[in-house]
């Protein structure tokens, strides 16, 4: 077990097994719905974890990129009749473009200032989405066409489950590869000591921009999937609370742990679905989870447990 988890892609094998075996225990389609939403949130969190956990740069506005992807897919397919895959790619280009354009000035900031700037960015995107009523339907939301890929329509919980599961595995694999490469090490170096990283030849600004764009693109991809899956889209999906949810998932699961991001997303997506008390007090619960995590296991769930049971880093 320990060797499996410690090896380069052992965790990936476990993830694939979990995705394959979980449906055996699902009593009804509600569980599939929850699992698909977990998968979509996990995809966002894996990207956000590259930014927050590995590179040490906070973003309180990533739901904005999730929203851009979601609305690009919704508007381009439903209003303009684009093929969904093309709309998804357009969303990625738009999110990546906006992230690239704002990254340099924003990422020159540090700590609280960076948090405020990304918060502002997220809020601006969310306001645009709810105010551009002609384009987005405003706060009431808009319908989204079903997803068709290469002529096949993805409908029904089973197809969505495999599509989101497959995408999650792919994104996890890409993230693990990136982390264990010269680029991933440079990102961790930026987190640890910017001055030492620069002396080692790391262009810290370029890497911050890169990881910001990568995480925005991944959030946009997840947003596109979400739009088609839910069939109805409101600006709530891009608002501040959603951004905070994503950050809390990353912090709870464990910063600088790709599997931690998945565990965090699973817990905070599934719990409100199964515990109604959580649903009614979601803001309070998110705050509580964040505070308790910071006090009792600042490293987050997965790294803390890995350390306790296996005595090494996950």
């Amino acid at each position: 077990m320990r060797r499996l988890l410690g090896s380069h892609h052992g965790g990936l094998v476990l993830l694939v097994l979990a995705i394959l075996l979980m449906p055996l225990g699902f009593p009804n389609s509600f569980y599939f719905d929850v699992a698909i939403n977990v998968g979509i949130a996990a995809i966002v969190c894996i990207g956000l974890n590259l930014l927050i956990g590995y590179a040490g740069q906070i973003s309180l506005g990533h739901a904005g990129f999730f929203g851009i992807g979601a609305y690009a897919s919704a508007i381009l397919t439903s209003t303009h009749g684009w093929p969904p895959l093309l709309a998804l790619l357009a969303g990625i280009l738009l999110s990546g473009g906006i992230a690239f354009a704002v990254a340099r000035p924003i990422l020159a900031l540090k700590g609280h200032y960076l948090a405020m700037a990304t918060l502002g960015l997220g809020i601006i995107i969310s306001i645009v989405l709810s105010q551009e009523v002609a384009l987005t339907g405003g706060p009431d939301g808009m319908p989204v066409d079903p997803l068709t890929l290469f002529g096949f329509e993805i409908s029904g919980t089973w197809s969505w489950y495999w599509l989101v599961g497959g995408t999650l595995v792919l994104v996890t694999w890409l993230a693990l590869n990136l982390v264990d490469s010269p680029i991933g090490r440079a990102l961790r170096a930026v987190h640890s000591s910017e001055i030492a990283a620069r002396v080692c030849g790391v262009d810290t600004t370029a890497y911050k921009v890169l990881v910001f764009v990568v995480s925005a693109v991944i959030a946009s991809l997840a947003g596109s999937l979400f739009a088609h899956f839910s069939g109805w889209l409101t600006p709530d999906e891009a608002d501040f609370l959603r951004s905070i949810q994503f950050v809390t998932m990353v912090v709870l699961g464990g910063m600088a742990s790709t599997f931690g991001a998945i565990v965090g997303a699973a817990l905070l997506t599934a719990l409100p679905q199964f515990l109604t008390v959580f649903q009614n007090y979601e803001h309070v619960m998110l705050g509580l989870v964040m505070v308790l995590t910071m006090i009792f296991m600042p490293r987050g769930l997965v790294p803390t447990l890995a350390l306790r049971f296996f005595g090494d880093r996950s």
Partner: protein
């Protein structure tokens, strides 16, 4: 031609001139030490040569080109590496990964090859790991290779920083107090390491308070006081210079430091 030529270099902090009108030349090869009492401007000088601080005035020529004011990452690409007086280890990585990062500019930094872990990247990573292992062997940390960097004792971290700086294959290595806080045995290990590096043709500029180490290894010593050059020469010349004894060594002897 000198490897490093510093001309009329000045750096002020507010009204204080930490380094003023400093000029000197470092020829290629050998160990060149910069000594002086606390506040003499040694670390400020180092920070300017490595691009961490911009000079207020003056030029720094490396192989004839003015590098004053270039950022550290550009200087790293030109072959200047350094260590820090207060450790700047990447504590969120393993010992080996720290060394790998030191060789960052020589590695495959293509995003797509990294994302898909293509064979070319894997091969380059294997070679880099072998080289990093060899460097760890050289500084005596081979058995720590896979340990998290934060599990190492202080003296080992000092050597890890040197290994990381060496991974960049620098032409000029700047060491800021590599023996600070090290016990006698560790200091001797560092001395042996420095001598072996110079034997391989490296040029080292050393800032160090341990006078025994400085006198043992230096081919050339520059003495700073209040941001200015006080004396310059071979170890025995500097040791016998009355101004140096007055300003520095006398003071160190009074303070109970290692007088030569």
């Amino acid at each position: 031609m000198s490897l490093l030529l510093v001309e009329r270099l000045t750096r002020s902090f507010g009204g204080v001139r930490a380094v003023q009108d400093l000029s000197f030349a470092i020829p290629e090869g050998g160990i060149h030490s910069i000594i002086g009492p606390n506040g003499a401007g040694k670390t400020t000088l180092f920070n300017m040569i490595s691009g961490v601080l911009r000079p207020t005035r003056g030029t720094i020529r490396f192989r004839g080109e003015n590098i004053a004011g270039l950022p550290p990452e550009r200087l790293a690409a030109r072959g200047i590496s350094r260590t820090f007086q207060n450790l700047q280890i990447f504590f969120n990585m393993s010992v080996l990964e720290n060394v790998l990062l030191g060789g960052h500019l020589g590695l495959d930094r293509n995003v797509w090859r990294a994302l898909f872990r293509l064979p070319r990247l894997r091969a380059a990573e294997r070679r880099a790991r072998a080289e990093a292992e060899a460097l760890l062997e050289r500084v005596g940390l081979a058995e720590w290779s896979d340990a998290p960097a934060d599990s190492l004792p202080y003296g080992a971290l000092k050597r890890l920083e040197i290994a990381r700086a060496l991974a960049a294959r620098p032409e000029l290595l700047l060491l800021d107090e590599p023996a600070a806080g090290c016990n006698e045995k560790e200091t001797r290990e560092i001395e042996t390491l420095l001598k072996s590096l110079v034997a391989d043709g490296m040029t080292i500029v050393l800032v160090e308070h341990d006078m025994r180490l400085v006198m043992n290894v230096s081919d050339h010593i520059i003495v700073l006081d209040h941001g200015r050059m006080l004396a310059e020469g071979r170890a025995e010349e500097v040791r016998e210079n009355p101004a140096v004894i007055e300003a520095y060594l006398g003071q160190a002897a009074v303070a109970g430091g290692h007088a030569p």
